[in-house]
Symmetry: C2
Subunit: 148 residues, 2 copies
């Protein structure tokens, strides 16, 4: 269905939460509790985001994570790539000649072009866009959640 991994969705939630208070540091447990996510999973995600350079960390008691860059400087593409690796729609776009099908098959180049276009689309949305909420929850479901 051309969907991102669920973990990526979680990661986006985490990053958006951090983007709401960029200066503050959060522990993994704290974030898990606040967002209602399983804390081991959150811990794992934070590690990946850290490795990608999107976060800085402080170890030891009272430690935690905070954004390495300003919210407007981090895009959804960055988060996706931090969790899932480079955006490459097809095998042939990443490896070399795995598809090795038709000798005069040049779709590989086209897929690379398409991958770049998708990457660009993901790059247009930044964390501050996600954090800002210029959107009214008109859906029933949203209201129901508010009531509970």
């Amino acid at each position: 269905m051309l969907r991102i991994a669920k973990l990526t969705d979680y990661a986006a939630l985490l990053m958006v939460r951090l983007a709401r208070e960029p200066a503050r540091c959060f522990s993994a447990a704290q974030l898990a509790d606040e967002l209602g996510l399983p804390s081991p999973t959150v811990a794992k995600l934070m590690k990946r985001l850290l490795r990608a350079g999107l976060l800085t960390s402080v170890r030891g008691a009272g430690g935690g994570y905070c954004l390495a860059l300003a919210p407007h400087a981090i895009s959804v593409a960055d988060v996706v790539e931090a969790i899932e690796g480079r955006v490459a729609l097809t095998e042939c776009a990443v490896g070399k000649g795995v598809c090795a099908l038709e000798p005069d098959c040049a779709t590989g180049a086209n897929w690379q072009r398409i991958s770049r276009a998708v990457r660009a689309a993901l790059d247009t949305v930044r964390l501050d866009d996600m954090a800002r909420t210029p959107w009214q929850p008109v859906r029933m479901q949203g209201l129901k959640e508010k009531l509970s």
Copy 2:
């Protein structure tokens, strides 16, 4: 890695092959043989593409498939959606409140926006773009294939 399914890649190959001779009809076996793909898989894909309205079929001996529209009227997005279903990066973009996390979480709307952007990116490339090969295979691998 935000990749399309391998079957989608195959489907694209098939469609591009058809686009090279839009008037001609091909049998599934013929296409499989020509492209070096497993024929049951090709048969399955053709069925899905047919259902999506991208192909027309003729049954019986001497039958086969051919494009339902002109090559320039079919985009990569069409092919992707024929095989994988609607482009929806996240659960919440397709279902209703599966993620049900933060009450004031509005990232769902953002994901829908992003999904549309990705869809648009895939829509920019049409079959005739893919069929046309304005691209020189400078890669070693390409040359090697040509030699064999």
